[in-house]
Structure formats: structure tokens, C-alpha cells
Amino acid sequence: MSIKMRQEEIIGEFKLLESDLEMSINYLIELGDQLTPFPENKKTDDFIVKGCQSKVWMFAEDKNQNVVYNADSNTVVTKGLVSLLVRVFSGHKAEEILNEEIYFPEKIGMSRFIGSQRSNGFSAMVKQMKLYALAINIKEKK
């Protein structure tokens, strides 16, 4: 499934929740729970995403020329948010990740339930994921 299709899938799921704030947040928390467990020894400053109000750790690996992300947060809501990004980007080629724009947050009204200030943190996560993709892309070309 392409990055765009995954974004559309998320938009569709949140549409089903009919803008119910509580249900949307609970669903987000459920999604966060499904993330692959993050290694405790990587919960260090080296893997922290700068610019987030809560703590977010992330790393990426090159698996058969696809970028696979692993992420975690110390807050369940943020963990849910980063899980959406992992779902959208993980398993795609670095070049695809670098070329695709993220548009689903606006469509699911994300700022409504995390506030505009914390949306900056979300942008920081996207930026970090693209930086990982860029690093892998450069490595692949070498």
C-alpha cells in the first residue's frame, strides 16, 4: 500500500468515528498500544525527537531497501500519534518517504485534540522520519 493510500486509510478510519473527540483519542491510544515494543536501551538522548513537548524516541533501519521505523513515547496520546506516522511511512523506500507530503493530520482534525502548539511536535516527528530516510537514501547510493 502506498504512502498516500495509507494516509487515506487513516482518514477513513477517523471519519468513522464521526468527529467524536473522546472516541478519536481512545482509538489513537489503541493504535499506540499496537506499536512494536521499543528497546529500552534505545530510550536515550541519541534517539529522542527534538521539538516535542513529551518524550518521543525513534530510530529507523534499512530492511531490504525499505525504511522500517520504530518509535515510542512516554505519553499514550503521543504514542498513538507517532504510531500513525510509523504506519504511513514504515516499509517504504527512502526516496518515496522523502517525496511524499503528509496531509492526513489536517483531514482528521488532529489539532482539535492535541492543540496547535503540540502540532509543532508532530511536525518535528515528520522531519525526523524524513531525516532518517535521507540518511538511508544517501547510504544506499554510496
Binding site: D20, L21, E22, I25, Q53, S54, K55, N74, T75, V76, V77, T78, F113, I114
Partner: protein
């Protein structure tokens, strides 16, 4: 604590004066517990601002027409009300500012800038809001003075002995908060002021959180400066007050230059206006100042004793109920405390609590509350904070705690 009928307030009739509280969010009635950030505004304030712009709008002081006269009279009436409200000697000791932050910056710039010499010391406490830290850092850096921190104990109370040890002939200014926005601690400011004066130091009190809850008497406190904001005491945003003793205000250089604050201007020489105008450069927030008068009237119509008693009961109920939650970790358990509770719940991040309570239409605040050094002192990233005002009810407290318990069960 049992209150007599005389001391009890009719919260339901008070609530009717706050239209914002009547709304539902996400299909649930709003419970507003973020009063330390800003209080809601009664109709009297809202209507007065509307009336001012509808009937009296004009620039003040220099106009020779009816509108200017009315606007000036209303503006200056607020000055008199503020002076009475905090028991200042005279209305000239009341300067209107943008808010507490602006008031503190004024003192840091004008007082700090004129008296601090290299090696001099400024004392602030560990529980200060960033607004009462950063202006002093700036001026101390400029003057090569030293900023020293008065430590606090585990309950969140100033260590008086440590404070006395820090006082020396080098101490020139002490700036402390009256009531902590994060801990709710009511500081012994009268004692601090008296000890500071024995050493010849000047004292500024940050009263942003005190004026909505406590009767302030600047004469009895004998503080040199007292700063507070309109919006935390049911008044408009963008208007604040700096009280200063006449002799000090007269001696200080102006903070900002511009219209209103001058007597005569030429390209070679400018003479400044008398106080308080010397410190009110430019067109002020006229509507805000006039609205503040109605906020003071609102507080006085209930009475600060009644407000304090009601909030004490609310605080006691909330503290008692919250303490029963497993893993409840309060931050700030001072013996003298205002209606603020900062807390963490073991195993649950305050950010999650804030978002999930918001989804249930309960407004609280989470984070560092602009007191990052205090968070460091208690070794926490942030807290959840509930803060109460005169319009909060016992039912709201019960609903909040019940909802919180439910969320904690789900999140653990």
C-alpha cells in the same frame, strides 16, 4: 471547616454572571479548572468594555471634548479603585501596565538599571514564574550583578533561615511571589519585606495569584512594589498594575519613552511627566483599565473573605478526594495554601490526563506552568494543575475527581 450562613456564598447566582460557563463542549457541560492561568469574566466586565466602545471611546487625558472627558474620568476612576482595593496611600502610586510581566520588567529595568552595581545581589525564590526570573537575569547580566535563589523545602515553602543567610549588604533587590502559581504556597511576604528592609534592600512582590484570593494591603505589607494582572482577577487581559511607593516611583527613571509620559519635548531636552504618567508611555489599554474597575467591584460585591472561605472548602474537598487515588503525588503541600493543586499520578503522564479530561469537557493545565526551575527542584517533567475560583462548585470537584479516577484506571 464549617461556615456560618453569613459566610457562605451563593455560587449558583454568581455563576449566572459568567456566560462562558454555561456552554457544553463535546456534549458535556464545561468544568473550568484553569483559573490560575486566567479567570473567566463576569457580565459586568464584558458589558463595560462593550459600553465603553459603544459610548465613550476616545483617547484619554488630552482631549477637549465630551468623549475624552468621559473616557479619562472612567480610566482615572479605576486608578482610585485599585488604590482603595490594595490600600495604597494614593492613586498616583498606581501605574497601569500590560500585566504582571510588564510590571516586573518595569521595576527590573528602572530600579535594577539604576541601582545595581557589579557584585550587587538580587534575590528571588526557587518557585518563581519565569516572569519573575528572566527580567532579573537580563538586568543582572547588564549590571554584572548576581542573581541568587532562595531555596524551598519539600512542601514548597520558602526556607526562611536560608533566606536570612542569603541576605547581606550586597542584597539590593528581592523579588518574590506572594502565591505560587504552581504550588499554591502563600509566602510569608510580610516577614520577607521586613527582613529585607533591615538590610536596606527594596522588595517587589509578584501578586498575580494573590489579588483574586486574598485581601492585599500594601501599606501593612510595607512592600516597595506590588505587581498584578487584571485577567487573573476576573478582569480583562492586557491590563496590569504596578504599585510603587511614591518616593521610589518619583526617583526612578522612566521605563519606556513616548506620548503621555512627557512634560515637554524638544530635540535637545525632554522633561518627564509626574507619576503615574511618567510610566505610562503611549495610549494605554483604556477599555481594559475601565473593565478592571468592574472586576474589582465584582470581587468587592462578594467580599474577599467569602471568596477565600469558599475556595478553601473547594480546595479541601478536592485535596481530600484526590489523596485517595493510588499513586497521587501532590506537588506543593504548604501549610498556607491557595486554591491550586499541582499533581502527578504514578504511571500516568500529565499530558495524557489533560487531553483526556479536555475530551470530557474538563479544562485543566498540564506542563511546567512557566516554572521550569521549580520542576527541576522537584525532579518532575511537569504536572497536572487544577485551580479554583469563586464560581467553582463542589459538584464540579466531584465530577472532576470521578472522571480522573476513571481515566487513571483506563490508562494504567
Amino acid at each position: 471547616m464549617k461556615l456560618s450562613i453569613k459566610d457562605q456564598v451563593d455560587v449558583s447566582s454568581i455563576r449566572k454572571q459568567f456566560p462562558v460557563l454555561e456552554q457544553s463542549i463535546n456534549g458535556k457541560p464545561l468544568i473550568y479548572l484553569d483559573n490560575a492561568a486566567t479567570t473567566q469574566k463576569p457580565l459586568a466586565v464584558i458589558n463595560e468594555i462593550n459600553r465603553y466602545y459603544t459610548e465613550d471611546n476616545s483617547n484619554i487625558h488630552r482631549g477637549m471634548h465630551a468623549l475624552a472627558e468621559r473616557a479619562t474620568a472612567a480610566y482615572e476612576n479605576t486608578r482610585k479603585s485599585v488604590a482603595r482595593f490594595i490600600n495604597a496611600n494614593e492613586s498616583e502610586e498606581i501605574i497601569f501596565t500590560k500585566g504582571t510581566t510588564d510590571s516586573i520588567n518595569l521595576v527590573a529595568h528602572s530600579l535594577g538599571g539604576s541601582i545595581l552595581k557589579p557584585g550587587d545581589e538580587v534575590l528571588i525564590s526557587c518557585m518563581e514564574h519565569h516572569s519573575n526570573i528572566v527580567p532579573w537575569q537580563i538586568i543582572c547580566k547588564q549590571a554584572k550583578a548576581v542573581l541568587k535563589i532562595i531555596p524551598i523545602n519539600k512542601r514548597g515553602e520558602i526556607l526562611i533561615e536560608e533566606f536570612l543567610n542569603l541576605l547581606s549588604e550586597r542584597t539590593k533587590i528581592i523579588s518574590v511571589v506572594h502565591i505560587s502559581n504552581t504550588l499554591g504556597t502563600v509566602n510569608p511576604v510580610k516577614r520577607i519585606i521586613s527582613e529585607a528592609h533591615k538590610r536596606g534592600a527594596k522588595v517587589l512582590i509578584d501578586g498575580a495569584q494573590a489579588t483574586p484570593h486574598h485581601k492585599i494591603d500594601v501599606k501593612s505589607l510595607n512592600c516597595d512594589f506590588y505587581a498584578f494582572s487584571g485577567h487573573k482577577m476576573y478582569g480583562p487581559t492586557g491590563v496590569g498594575v504596578l504599585y510603587g511607593k511614591r518616593t521610589l516611583l518619583e526617583a526612578l527613571p522612566p521605563y519606556q519613552g513616548g506620548g503621555e509620559m512627557i512634560k515637554d519635548v524638544s530635540f535637545t531636552q525632554t522633561s518627564y511627566n509626574e507619576i503615574p504618567y511618567k510610566f505610562e508611555a503611549g495610549t494605554p489599554n483604556i477599555a481594559g483599565v475601565i473593565g478592571l474597575n468592574r472586576a474589582i467591584e465584582f470581587i468587592e460585591s462578594i467580599g474577599l473573605n467569602q471568596i477565600r472561605n469558599h475556595e478553601k472548602e473547594i480546595l479541601l474537598r478536592a485535596t481530600t478526594q484526590l489523596s485517595e487515588i493510588t499513586g497521587f503525588q501532590p506537588m506543593g503541600t504548604a501549610l498556607e495554601k491557595a486554591s491550586v493543586i499541582s499533581f502527578n499520578i504514578e504511571g500516568v503522564h500529565p499530558f495524557d490526563l489533560g487531553i483526556l479530561l479536555d475530551a470530557k469537557s474538563i479544562a485543566i493545565r498540564t506542563g511546567h506552568h512557566c516554572t521550569q526551575p521549580l520542576m527541576e527542584r522537584f525532579n518532575v517533567e511537569g504536572t497536572a494543575r487544577v485551580s479554583f475560583a469563586i464560581y467553582n462548585t463542589f459538584e464540579e470537584v466531584d465530577q472532576f475527581v470521578w472522571t480522573l479516577c476513571d481515566l487513571v484506571k483506563k490508562l494504567r
